[in-house]
Symmetry: D2
């Protein structure tokens, strides 16, 4: 089939390649002309035969909103737009409504895979009406991993991004689990070879997992991670997971702890711990560390 | 080689079987005569040719202490005792000293594998001096999974149980991660098929893992886990992980949150939340739920 | 001075009384004619001499929005609207803009005091431009406690509700602190009189506080809180505090734990702990509690 | 009455002064001869008329153990030892048994008050048999604050230190509550005067408390705490509170979060966040900060 693909960055570029390898035609557009197959959205739309499928793979928020608004003007009834970016699930309903007003279908799709996706496939979670999903299915099949699993029609509009968001929330807490365990092992004088402990866990244990494999790779590069700073970014999805939990009154202690650990990792000095130090000094005359 | 094995319960019994399948001789003792090969510890010791290796697989704490004390009397210099039970790592040094006073070696070994171990092998983490570990090595090789990984000499006496304990701490937080994500997905009206979302994650995602596979199996049995109560036991290892972290001043927010979630799950009513309700009523005249 | 007061429920009614006791004129409107001094917003506005000050004390969200929209039509340039309800601070900027378009001033005011406010005064935190705050000042002075403290011009529009929101976040964690401590004392067999321990803490300790006094009152009513269920509601402010923290990447582990404890207290059964039970059963053959 | 007091450091010295002001005789011993009234424990014991009351105010652990052991040799049946130090409650039973074997009574006493105790009195929580408590009562009455509250016979041996430990656990979470709230207010651009917000909270609010008063004092010294580092020590009592909670399977999410925040505050770089950074880099090619 034919696909229009908007956004050819690290993710989009590799996805174009994987879809092409599966025998489909991809016409790609990017603001960077060096990456693009066409010069404009108008040209992209004109080169696709209807009914068209256009996949949006641009940053969440403003850029995605803008692209959806432009497509609402350019596309025709019966066409389908897929948002494969990292949009907040609450944006999906708005985008679907904007497009539906013009008779254009909408599917939201959360994509996992990172730098490994081109070769191993991308895990896909999508939401929307079955008739629109069906039109995109060949592309989903091209992108997904080869095995039995790796893609799912998760539910209504928004369900794809919601499921991907929760995936990332789980990922945060799993990473935190390994990180906490690693720090504790490194602190124990009895345990003389933490890296080999991690390596051994790759078979027969309850915690064997791809993240564990990656931890072993990282430790093989740098046994005590001495070259790294304990500094971690967070993306919107971890934050949105906690916000969604608050909306639904679902307690998420481990996932939220993992998010907060990242916030704290980026502070040069902790304002709240200054207040703790100040209070200790006030009531107990405890020594404080001054700058 | 020849092994004496004390404790033939669910774990010990299957381990005897797996070691025998590897061609070794196992003489097993259990307080339950239906399970045992010999009638007493004395008989077990007398039937083994020196230098002997005796593996203790009885409950942690009192029973293990008692068994170690008896073996200190019955064994000879040059023999080796392995504690493969779920002992606290701090007990290992005591046991090693008791035995060393008689010239007997000691190795502690954390064993993971549960009901899957007989067929798939047991993950093993052991600690102690290299010369004692070497004497047990054929048994370790018989018990471990067939692949490249699954066993490790983690360090000094205590390192085996310490590493296994941390494994379980990580396991707690990974389980909590999936549990939190599942609850949030179930709460979201957009997501109409949570089980299929979990199933799809088994390929191409960052969170693919054996625990995820088990979650899918559980959901296949009972899609919404409607037959279960939200009640979870905890074993000593989760608690000890937090205690070890306190000893080493290592923050473990996600693992500790997971332990506390289990504590709370076993309370019919939460005393602390009664106090919250009482305080809200005091200052705000807020309605409380009475029994 | 003269004040228009909209919303005469538990809070608004008592506030009218306290303002009147201070010698001011209050014309109150409520949808419930039994509580109201006038029959309509129109009548309220017509009875006030300009420049008017109108205090809105209705539920946050829709009702407040509606009232602000109506006042934007009814009031005149130079009048001032105060929102004393529990609005989200992000609503304040919108309301200020709506009113500013008509030349009407806006002040947001967080009010703390509950059932004790009529006699002891209400703690007030307000935000907005100094010229509008000045017009409301006599009412603030009437409402606040008699001492030196209890009211503050916290900053720009939104700062009042933001400060009140953070007050409530702190309140959540302080309540949780006492609740956790109480539960632990009740669990300790050594401690035979927990209520007297709490009572004694009211002098000389680091934790003496009004909440402690209230805890003692509650325990005097019901020593072991046996009549209560461990069930606690939460208001918007606790949730918003966590959302604001996420916006600013500020870690709030204790406040968030307190919010989540309330969420969990309202669940008859915990879905996430069902998943934990299911996983334990899958890998370990551990017993589960069935319904 | 007459009291022997061992340990005349910052706490013990002030306590001697306060007891003397109440008209009692105190004979004090300290290893530092500049502080001591007598040259040895032997001399202290010989100068007291029986039945003697001896108050131990030395560091928990080894020093207290040693002192109790010496007193068991020096004192006579009918005498009473009070441990007013920061001992772990589990040590109290051991000490009571050691002394009971010689017919000597034991009372454990948790003391709160810090640098304010000399003038304002010390909050006291004590445990032990009523007959021994009665012998110490005049000293308790001298030390406690003047009001109605401030001292309690909390229960059996160990109950005093247990109650004091829980007091400190609550204190940790209350301090964390104010610290989190302060950091969030400082991060909000709307709120232009955080110190005045804190000051205003001292009346009419739910969170008014001595700790809030101290926070205001600290902010008056240094409005943004710019002179301090976000570094906080922790004493044994916070750690023991969490350990006691684990023993009793009581969830303490807010108190434990507060303890962990202190652990993290003392790390120059966070090992666990290095692992998070390493994992993000492995699966996503995410940038890491290198040293």
């Amino acid at each position: 089939m034919e696909l229009g693909l908007i956004g050819l960055g690290k993710m989009g570029g590799n996805m174009r390649e994987r879809i092409r390898r599966a025998g489909h035609t991809v016409i790609g557009y990017d603001r960077n002309p060096d990456l693009a197959d066409v010069d404009s959205l108008e040209e992209l739309v004109s080169k696709l035969e209807g009914p068209r499928v256009v996949w949006v793979m641009v940053p969440a928020g403003g850029p995605t909103q803008e692209t959806v608004d432009q497509l609402a003007e350019l596309l025709s009834p019966g066409d389908v737009v897929v948002d494969g970016g990292n949009s907040r699930w609450t944006d999906d309903v708005k985008h679907a409504e904007t497009l539906a007003a013009k008779g254009i279908g909408f599917v939201d799709c959360g994509v996992s895979g990172g730098v490994w996706g081109l070769e191993n496939g991308y895990a896909l979670m999508y939401g929307g009406e079955a008739e629109y999903v069906a039109k995109v299915q060949p592309v989903f099949d091209a992108l997904k991993p080869e095995g039995e699993f790796g893609s799912v029609h998760a539910g209504k509009v928004g369900a794809g991004h919601f499921a991907k968001m929760v995936h990332n929330g789980i990922e945060y807490a799993m990473m935190q689990a390994f990180a906490e365990g690693w720090e504790l092992l490194e602190a124990a004088p009895e345990v003389t070879d933490v890296r080999e402990v991690f390596r051994s866990w790759q078979e027969g244990t309850v915690i064997r997992s791809w993240l564990l494999d990656l931890a072993v790779r990282a430790l093989d590069d740098d046994e005590h991670l001495a070259k790294l700073k304990g500094w971690a970014a967070d993306s919107g999805e971890g934050r949105w997971t906690v916000e969604a939990a608050i909306d639904h009154a679902v307690p998420l202690p481990a996932i939220t702890a993992s998010l907060f650990a990242r916030f704290a990792s980026r502070q040069d000095d902790s304002p709240q711990m200054k207040m703790i130090a100040a209070l200790r000094n006030q009531f107990g005359g405890h020594a404080v560390e001054s700058k």
